[in-house]
């Protein structure tokens, strides 16, 4: 302590309430100095102090000290004002603009728009770019502003909510935003928790309370929270006056950790440090349930709460289609640059050779220094329409419609709860159609997560084998009534070794609140076997066994961690004062080779029960270490695991319990259908290998014939996980590798969809391209993190995903087509206008072309269906077209590019020849060419659209009429260049004849090629379309064919090695027009020679080993 004071006076650090950690460090240094007696005392001291000061600085930076209920303590922490707003009124415009301009496309358009302000080079009125640009910006800014305003309103509501806070010993009501760190907040049942609190008292004598954390982690089941040991037994009057200090880390976003310590000041308790965990906290936005009142100390407030900190900007998920569109945009941009350079060059040459002779153009002999740049820049502006400004808006629009369709879909409405599907992320529907891998959690996703205790095996005797239900097994009941010691102990473990909270309802019936379904199943089963857990108050646990009350004192709970895969409790049997360790866990964890295989083969989840008597000394010694580990602030998790390991050994194995978790309805069918569509399923589970195999078999993950691929992987290390990419099924051993796995797949450019229900797969869901949350029995668990919450995977992928992909593919390519069409005409025209960069079209036409004439009809593609839903469901194989990206890739894009070049040629040549000589008047020719474009684009939409509803008819033909209507209207305005032009053209028979010629020449070849392909080189989609439309039966693909359909993906996979995976061309093989069996590019030799370690693991499941490759 001497040194502590010394430090105080020598530095500005305050230690009037010395933090325990600091004291510990000091001890450590002193110890060190003692074992080194040679060194001079003073030097040591200085060194130690320097070290200490550094430590203190670090730790002070990392920690906050909170003085409970101390008004004199003026903290520097923020108040509890929540602000989710992105903008304020003042910074909205600059900030929003800055944000919008951080996108490349917008920068590009802004540059173009700015260039157009230079009259020397602009071919058209700057309004033709500024108009749409401002429109688009205004639309997205308005949307942002509206969202932000709504956030502001909800913040305001939350901030002005009244809460009870203790001030000077009494409870007063203040607004939630005025809570300060250190205040004691009083909550009543069903109150929303206003900030992060450390629980200090509840109405419950046992010191527990229940919270609903759904707003935080999406789990709707109630969580138990306990008051820290230091506060146990304080009356509510005392709680008003409680003083103390809490040492906790600086705010972070980890909602599962809160490693801190608390010390109450006298007169409340001694100087003992009480460790705090997340179980002692009430986090902001949770709700207090089933508890009359609770109070707690505010530790984090405002935006520094766990919730506030995790409210980061979600990284936008970019769909594969978006990425492809970006790439194509980039390619078009390059093409545009080439055009600009070539034409700019040609223009300058033409100018110097020809234009100088043309006296009427009056080129000055000496131009300004930038003269060489003028013509290229003009072409840049002329070609700027190549990148359609409307594409972004169009895509956003149809994407939100896709999401709406998902939400509206009544076939995805859960009949039981009347919950519709909810698309949390509206932007990634088309990725659903491109899913190649589905990673699924087992429990609660494939299964119902409604666990039932079915069988057990105690000391080698199996119960429940005959009728499949141990509870009805006479032998078992007989053994219990005979008090067979092992059986009784087995039941004791079942009853005690858990974190279940018994609640006695008014009727006297016991209900249990459990964090995990298997604990619930066990306790329930035990109570049916007359071992009833009756109450848990504080550390005392009461069990009623056939009328006799047994008491146990819980000394320590060694919580379940996924590393240890077990949980244990240390209890003192109050009957004989013996200290026992009760342990339960996955069987390998307790007994590496337990004979639970038979249960596993039945697909049951097995749990091993272990037991050990501890002698007093061993326990005391261990308890000290445990407490120490429990109160460390750094690496607590790891240290705890280490300590637990020290106790959990030499267990006496009591037996194995087998719990059934039924498959959800329709799971096998869904998986079978999706596997047919070429999607690979990876199931991630912590179950025993055999259990996993059985589950996999029963849900068609793998077929019973030895052709499925199976990998048993003890994925303790990342390397091992990495090595097993080519496996279809894996049993994962640690959940922590799940996100890594997803990352791995993503890094290889496969589209992954992760589906899960619970907290442990939230990260996986966030990582995947698409996350799907199931609302299973436990409620809407992973819904928060998930992009889609649904239960109809099949329909989601095959119907919604596929349609979305098809529609987006069409829409985006079409957008480029129509822009290129106009641009090519401009380029062709420039060849006949002295390469000077004149525009054939006037500003009004250019602007309206992109914004009105061509954008609206194609938007109705959100109703387009190439095949009926029924056909798609019956032939899931066709999904491969979406997965491989065959509708949107450089090759199909080249087709559209070529089409627009051809159409531009047709329009230009026909117009220029039909309107030559005396008719060659600029405005007229321009309008003829524009009408030609409109005719062609209308017909292209018509030809490419597969189904026409009334909306499409209205949009396509209505737009066609609107074009003429708008132009007629514009033609009545004398001021404009277009005055009377349209009426002039209407009167000319040659106009209509020209239009029909353009239409016939433009569409004839397109129709012929399409027909030829459709009829004589059809792909499956075409065949199905033909079958569907000719009214014939839709043939589902015969079984033998299905498997070969899966083959391409598999064989592709098998030859994929990690090292080369990243170089895999993300651009899928183009079209592969005729053969869906064609494989994608295979990279490298078989990866199996690489990884002997992986291969050896196969031996354990040789019967399932892969031979798919040779199939």
């Amino acid at each position: 302590m001497l040194f502590t004071f010394y430090l105080d006076s020598s530095s500005s650090l305050h230690f009037d309430s010395p933090a325990p950690q600091l004291v510990g460090d000091l001890h450590y240094i002193l110890l060190k100095s003692c074992i080194n007696p040679v060194a001079k005392q003073k030097e040591l001291l200085v060194g130690a102090l320097e070290f200490l000061v550094e430590c203190c600085k670090d730790q002070l930076a990392m920690k906050r000290f909170i003085y409970i209920n101390d008004d004199s303590f003026q903290d520097s922490f923020c108040d509890n004002r929540i602000s989710n707003r992105k903008y304020t009124i003042l910074n909205f415009l600059p900030k929003n603009l800055l944000e919008q301009f951080s996108r490349f496309m917008n920068q590009y358009f802004l540059l173009i728009a700015c260039l157009q302000l230079w009259p020397l080079i602009t071919p058209v009125n700057p309004a033709s770019t500024w108009g749409p640009l401002i429109f688009i910006f205004a639309v997205s800014a308005t949307k942002e502003a509206w969202d932000d305003y709504n956030r502001y309103l909800s913040d305001k509501k939350a901030n002005e909510r009244k809460v009870w806070v203790v001030k000077e010993g009494t409870r007063i009501q203040i607004e939630a935003q005025d809570i300060h760190v250190g205040n004691i907040v009083w909550l009543r049942e069903n109150d929303e928790i206003p900030c992060d609190l450390v629980l200090t008292g509840t109405s419950d004598p046992q010191g527990i309370c229940f919270v609903e954390t759904s707003a935080l982690d999406g789990e709707t089941d109630l969580k138990t929270r306990v008051i820290p040991s230091a506060c146990i037994g304080l009356a509510s009057e005392q709680l008003l006056k409680i003083k103390g200090v809490i040492e906790c880390p600086n705010p972070d976003n980890d909602i599962r950790r809160f490693d801190s310590n608390m010390r109450l000041f006298p007169p409340f308790l001694d100087n003992d440090i009480c460790p705090l965990t997340i179980n002692n906290t009430l986090l902001q936005s949770c709700y207090l349930r089933n508890t009359e009142w609770a109070c707690g100390v505010a530790v984090y407030t405002g935006n520094e709460t766990k919730l506030g900190m995790s409210r980061g900007i979600a990284e936008p998920k970019l769909t594969a289609v978006d990425a492809m569109i970006d790439k194509l945009t980039g390619a078009i941009f390059l093409f545009q640059l080439v055009v600009v350079v070539v034409l700019g060059f040609a223009g300058n040459i033409w100018k110097d050779t020809e234009a100088r002779k043309q006296w009427y153009v009056m080129y000055p002999s000496e131009g300004p220094w930038y003269e060489l740049l003028i013509i290229p820049l003009r072409f840049e502006l002329l070609c700027s329409i190549m990148i359609p400004i409307s594409i972004k808006v169009s895509l956003d629009l149809v994407k939100s419609v896709y999401a709406k369709f998902i939400e509206w879909d009544e076939e995805m409405l859960d009949q039981d709860t009347n919950t519709p599907a909810h698309a949390a992320n509206t932007a990634i529907s088309e990725d659903l159609g491109q899913v190649e891998y589905i990673l699924t959690d087992k429990t609660g996703t494939l299964t119902e997560n409604r666990m039932v205790f079915r069988r057990c095996c105690i000391s080698g005797i199996s119960y429940g084998n005959e009728n499949g239900d141990a509870l009805k097994d006479a032998a078992f009941l007989h053994a219990i009534s005979n008090n067979v010691p092992d059986v009784i102990r087995f039941l004791t473990v079942m009853t005690i070794c858990n974190t279940v909270t018994p609640i006695k309802s008014t009727g006297g019936a016991m209900t249990y609140k459990a964090l995990s379904q298997d604990e619930y199943a066990l306790v329930n089963a035990a109570s049916q076997l007359h071992m009833v857990l009756t109450s848990k108050s504080g550390n005392i646990l009461k069990v009623n066994f056939r009328g006799a009350d047994l008491q146990y004192e819980i000394l320590d709970i060694l919580e379940f961690t996924s590393d240890r895969k077990r949980m244990s409790v240390v209890v003192k049997d109050c009957q004989n004062e013996k200290i026992i360790l009760l342990s339960k866990g996955a069987d390998e964890a307790i007994l590496p080779h337990a004979s639970a295989e038979q249960y596993a083969l039945l697909g049951l989840r097995t749990l091993c029960f272990g037991w050990r008597e501890l002698d007093e000394c061993e326990y005391v010694e261990w308890a000290r270490m445990f407490k120490e580990a429990n109160s460390t602030l750094t690496d607590r998790e790891w240290k705890l695991a280490e300590v637990c390991q020290k106790l959990e050994h030499h267990l006496e194995i009591l037996g194995v319990a087998a719990i059934e978790d039924r498959l959800q309805d329709g799971v096998p069918e869904t998986i079978e259908t999706l596997r047919k569509s070429g999607i690979n399923f990876w199931m991630l589970t912590g179950d025993k290998q055999n259990t996993a195999i059985q589950i996999a078999l029963s849900c068609n993950f793998i077929s019973s014939e030895p052709r499925g691929q199976l990998l048993f992987l003890n994925g303790r290390t990342q390397d091992e996980v990495f090595r097993s990419l080519e496996m279809v099924l894996r049993t994962m051993k640690i959940t922590s590798s799940e996100p890594k796995l997803v990352e791995l797949l993503k890094s290889c450019d496969f589209r992954t969809l992760a589906i899960g229900d619970g907290g442990n797969d939230v990260r996986m869901i966030q990582q995947a391209d698409i996350g799907v949350g199931i609302s299973g029995r436990e409620g809407l668990q992973a819904a928060r993190a998930a992009d889609y919450k649904f239960r109809f995977l099949k329909r989601l992928i095959l119907v919604h995903g596929r349609y979305s992909y098809n529609r987006t593919a069409f829409l985006s390519q079409y957008s480029f087509y129509k822009s290129l069409l106009l641009c090519f005409i401009q380029i062709l025209f420039s060849l006949f206008s002295g390469v000077s960069g004149s525009s054939l079209f006037n500003s009004v036409s250019l602007m309206a072309y992109n914004v009105f004439y061509t954008s609206i009809p194609v938007l109705t593609c959100f109703l387009d269906k190439d095949l009926s839903e029924k056909t798609v469901m019956q032939n899931p194989q066709i999904l491969v077209y979406c997965q491989a990206g065959r509708l949107l890739n450089p090759s199909t894009f080249a087709g559209w590019f070529g089409r627009s070049a051809y159409h531009a040629l047709v329009v230009f040549l026909v117009t220029m020849h039909a309107y030559s000589g005396e008719k060659s008047e600029m405005e007229e020719v321009s309008m003829v060419a524009l009408s030609g474009c409109i005719w062609l684009q209308v017909l292209v939409v018509t030809l490419e659209m597969n189904s026409f509803t009334i909306l499409q008819h209205v949009a396509i033909w209505g737009n066609f009429l609107a074009f003429y209507l708008i132009n007629s209207l514009v033609s009545t305005i004398p001021r404009l260049g277009m005055y009377t032009i349209m009426f002039r053209l209407f009167r000319q028979p040659s106009y209509w004849i020209t239009m029909i010629l353009i239409f016939a020449v433009g569409m004839g070849p397109v129709l012929a090629i399409k027909y030829f392909r459709y009829t004589y080189k059809p792909n499956i989609i075409n065949i199905l379309q033909q079958n569907e439309r000719s009214g014939g039966p839709i043939y589902a693909m015969v079984k033998g064919n299905l498997e070969s359909q899966i083959k391409p993906v598999d064989s592709d996979l098998s030859s994929l090695s990690i090292s080369q995976a990243k170089s895999r061309n993300p651009v899928h093989e183009p079209l592969l027009s005729d053969s869906p069996t064609a494989t994608r590019r295979s990279v490298g030799p078989s990866a199996f020679d690489y990884f002997p370690a992986t291969q050896s693991r196969f031996s354990s499941s040789s019967s399932y080993s892969r031979n798919l490759k040779n199939n």
């Binding site: 009259p119 234009a355 002779k357 006296w359 009427y360 153009v361 009056m362 080129y363 000055p364 709406k404 369709f405 879909d409 009544e410 309805d665 329709g666 869904t670 239960r791 329909r795 025209f829 002295g834 269906k865 029924k870 469901m873 220029m912 020849h913 039909a914 030559s916 000589g917 005396e918 008719k919 060659s920 008047e921 600029m922 020719v925 597969n946 189904s947 026409f948 005055y979 009377t980 028979p989 040659s990 004849i993 010629l997 016939a1000 020449v1001 004839g1004 012929a1008 027909y1011 459709y1014 004589y1016 065949i1023 033909q1026 439309r1029 000719s1030 014939g1032 693909m1037 064919n1041 070969s1044 083959k1047 069996t1077």
Partner: protein, 350 residues
């Protein structure tokens, strides 16, 4: 979990719980279920072959009609820029055209092949003349043409916006380079009346060119390009200018000079007196005089007729080819075993 329900999708969308009585909300409901009635045209061989056949059958006659119409137009084209240069200047045409002291008068003859019915349009045709050049096409001020000197912002007229610090009306390169060759016609030693009124668009005269705007400071001083304008006639009546200001989209164009409103008989000799003022020699342009009749399709232009016939023939050809293919390889529509990837896969699977 209603997975089974999902598998029967697409069929039962309409038979859903109906809380939607009105017809409108029913339509909206079907829209939300993506279940609006839709027609799905199929590209059946019959349909496609019929389309091509019909297209061919209609296009060929239309093409023939267009061609006949075009053929019925009597057209005489006379290139005069080479003819009207005195022998001495043949090697130095630019010097000839720039030398004001030399008379530009020239007389040429046309012998009419067939009878030409009134109205006979007289066009001048320029070739390799880029009225669509960017510098040129932009160099005008529509407002000034309408409002005259009141309108001051004529920066768009550069480089011909002012001369001697005074604005030019009409300003800009287009007006400045006004075509100024003139033509008169004699037939049988009688002067043929060429109507030079109403050769421009009425809408231009009424709404684009001011009737109280007079040429000012035009073709003055050093800035001398093409034709001059009579200072006392308002722009709305300067029809040559109005015609010229309607810029052509292509470097080869014709502009109306006048209309002969009497019939001309076959074999008649038409004497043309022209003044060859306009300089096309410096950039190698061509000047032609065109006399033509007109009909419902316009002037002589075989393009539409020919391309219609060609398109029609191609359509018929395509129809025949498709029909032949269809007959030769009839593809039973409802045979799933045709799915070629089925066959392929059964061949490849081991």
């Amino acid at each position: 979990m209603e997975m089974e329900g999902a598998s029967s999708s697409g069929s039962g969308g309409a038979a859903q719980p109906t809380l939607l009585p009105s017809r409108r909300s029913k339509v909206f409901y079907r829209f939300t279920q993506q279940n609006l009635p839709a027609c799905k045209p199929a590209l059946t061989p019959t349909l496609v072959i019929t389309i091509f056949l019909l297209a061919g059958i209609t296009f060929v006659p239309v093409g023939i009609i267009c061609l006949r119409a075009s053929e019925s137009v009597e057209e005489h084209v006379l290139r005069y820029d080479t003819e009207c240069i005195p022998e001495d200047y043949r090697s130095n045409r630019v010097a000839y055209i720039k030398d004001d002291s030399i008379s530009k008068k020239c007389t040429l003859n046309i012998k009419l092949r067939n009878q030409m019915k009134a109205p006979i349009y007289v066009y001048y045709e320029l070739d390799n003349y880029y009225q669509n050049h960017r510098r040129y096409v932009k160099s005008r001020s529509d407002k000034q043409l309408l409002y005259g000197l009141q309108y001051k912002d004529i920066s768009s007229c550069k480089p011909v916006e002012s001369s001697n610090r005074l604005p030019v009306v009409p300003c800009g390169l287009i007006a400045w380079s006004l075509f100024n060759d003139t033509f008169t016609f004699d037939v049988k030693a009688r002067k043929l009346n060429v109507n030079r009124k109403n050769i421009s668009w009425k809408s231009d005269r009424d709404h684009k060119f001011g009737n109280d705007v007079y040429p000012f400071n035009f073709q003055n001083d050093t800035l001398i390009g093409g034709g001059k304008l009579n200072q006392s006639i308002p722009l709305s009546e300067q029809e040559d200018l109005i015609v010229w200001m309607r810029v052509a989209a292509l470097p080869n164009f014709r502009k109306l000079y006048g209309v002969i409103e009497e019939d001309l008989d076959a074999d008649e000799l038409l004497t043309i007196h022209l003044s060859n003022n306009y300089n096309t020699y410096s950039f190698g342009g061509k000047k032609k005089l065109v006399l033509t009749t007109s009909n419902w399709l316009g002037g002589k232009n075989n393009f539409l007729g020919l391309s219609y016939i060609a398109t029609g023939c191609c359509s018929i050809l395509v129809a025949i080819i498709f029909a032949l293919i269809h007959v030769k390889f009839p593809r039973p529509h409802r045979d799933a075993s045709y799915l070629h990837w089925n066959r392929k896969s059964s061949a490849t699977s081991r």
